[in-house]
Amino acid sequence: MSGEEFVPLSLTPLLIGTFAAIACALPGNFLVLRKQALIGDAISHVVLPGIVVAFLVTGAISTWPMMLGAAGASVMAVVLIEAVRRLGQIEAGAAMGVVFTTMFAAGVLLLEQTDTSTVHLDVEHALYGNLESLIWLDATGWSSVLDPVALAGLPPELSRIALTLLGVSLFVWLFWRPLKISTFDEGFARTIGIRTGVLGMALVITAAIAAVAAFDAVGSIIVIAMFICPPAAARMMTNRLETQIAWSVAFAILSAVFGYVLAGYGPLWLGAADAVSAAGMIATISGLILAFAALWGPCRTRAGAPGTA
């Protein structure tokens, strides 16, 4: 494919898909180890009431108020989940289940009870996003990458997800040591003065922000898949957290690039007429990677359960 075709049509969706995948996979590593990986699923449901409220307040379908509404609802959900978990002294998964079904139900009720018939909440759009439509029409070829006029026409999703990825990376880099220690041994972490409650909350809020930014660009299916599949597959490739993070990023990039290319050209190669959803294919590839890692990864056996040692 020539630059004239590739740059306007495929470069931005590829970058957005890749950035979204990494932004979710990075915090996903800690969430999987903390057995909180379902938070991605939870957030994809709780954004609904936030979006509806944002629409009711502004009366228009515009990106920023809706993203703010979604982010607000996610943060509220995260706080509620922590509250239910700590006050009820129950497992994180159960707390998530209670909070996200309740908030999703509230969103549906809100949608039904208010006059929002003008809103078109497209299920397919919410699930799969519209990665393929995030094209860069101002670009004419590789030279456009350095052309300020063309750059001004980049889809806004790209800068949003790039900024989000930068924020997520900074968070993980800066708090690497406390995150690692408190994920492994929360009691010990508290005795050396790490505020584990605040840190755990910051981690899920970071994940929530990554999720909302990624939904906006690529839909919820990538978010749910990327929080879990690359980190879980990476865990089976190594016994070191540092290396696991590197593998998870590699798997996220691999899923995004291969998924996008396969969705666009795979069906054509097989003789079908249409392309399939890129987001769906990216999630599928990440699932396949996880399956391969589970079958042949070098570190897939549980060795250390205290009872068996």
Partner: protein
């Protein structure tokens, strides 16, 4: 006077407990309706080895966790070396129960020991040669030097416990608090751990251990703290570890034969 001191937030340490590495007053902790620890006072002797003893569910671990701020008590004060806990955290090393963490966590033995140096390393400080040397030395002291590069899940229970002890040694503390370090470990590990703890005592450090094996109390410890939700007895082994105090702590849960055995051991 004591009430006034408590109201003003002054630690009770001002009242002649200044030297105590760990002083607890009126500590009550509850996980639900029933208190796990009720109105407990404890004064740990400096430079001694103290065993916290009591039946299952008597609040031994909870007492330790509340003293360390891991669980939040309903009421009570804790002072560490005469000051609030937060100011003296650097002087405390804590060894949690081995079963409290997931040993499948992707990390190596040496990385766990280096966690003991995290106060010194800070957020972004690089691990330098001297940090590595310190961590290796701590592993050597517990006889685990050859296992530095192993994944922690590949260790036996006893080896895992020694790695936890090595991490505490790396903290270079003055007060060591250990939660059931001898639970489910092999005889060699028990020997290794007690040797390290005794060397800490000889170096003037204070050691507090939640312990469950009544048969070894007289051999290992010089002070005893008996608890069954409330404090039952506190003092030297001779004073506090008697047939009467044990009966009162364990009630019917301790067979008469066991008490006889312990009484004989006590002479």
């Amino acid at each position: 006077m004591l009430e006034l001191a408590a109201q003003q937030g002054v630690s009770v340490a001002g009242k002649g407990l200044e030297g105590s590495p760990l002083a607890i007053r009126g500590l009550t902790v509850s996980y639900g309706q029933k208190p796990a620890v009720f109105s407990v006072d404890m004064t740990v002797q400096s430079g001694a080895m103290t065993a916290i003893i009591g039946p299952n569910g008597a609040g031994k671990s909870t007492l330790l966790k509340a003293a360390l701020g891991i669980v939040t008590p309903l009421s009570g004060q804790v002072s560490v070396f005469g000051e609030p806990l937060e100011k003296q955290r650097a002087r405390i090393a804590y060894v949690p129960q081995r079963a409290s963490v997931d040993w499948d966590f992707p990390t190596r033995v040496i990385d766990v020991v280096l966690m003991g140096l995290s106060r010194e390393l800070g957020l972004l400080g690089r691990v330098r040669a001297r940090h590595m040397a310190c961590a290796m030395d701590c592993l050597h002291r517990v006889g685990m030097r050859d296992f530095a590069d192993r994944q922690i899940g590949q260790l036996s229970g006893g080896q895992q416990q020694r790695v936890f002890l090595a991490r505490a040694l790396a903290q270079d503390a003055d007060l060591y608090l250990l939660d059931e370090p001898f639970a489910g470990v092999d005889a060699a590990t028990e020997k290794a751990i007690i040797a390290v703890l005794k060397s800490l005592k000889e170096a003037g450090k204070t050691v507090v251990v939640v312990h469950h094996d009544l048969a070894t109390v007289t051999d290992y410890f010089d002070h005893v703290f008996l608890i069954n939700t409330r404090k039952v007895a506190e003092g030297t082994v001779a004073e506090a570890f008697t047939a009467e105090t044990l009966q009162s702590a364990y009630g019917g849960r301790l067979a008469t034969a066991q008490i006889d055995q312990i009484s004989r051991a006590l002479g």
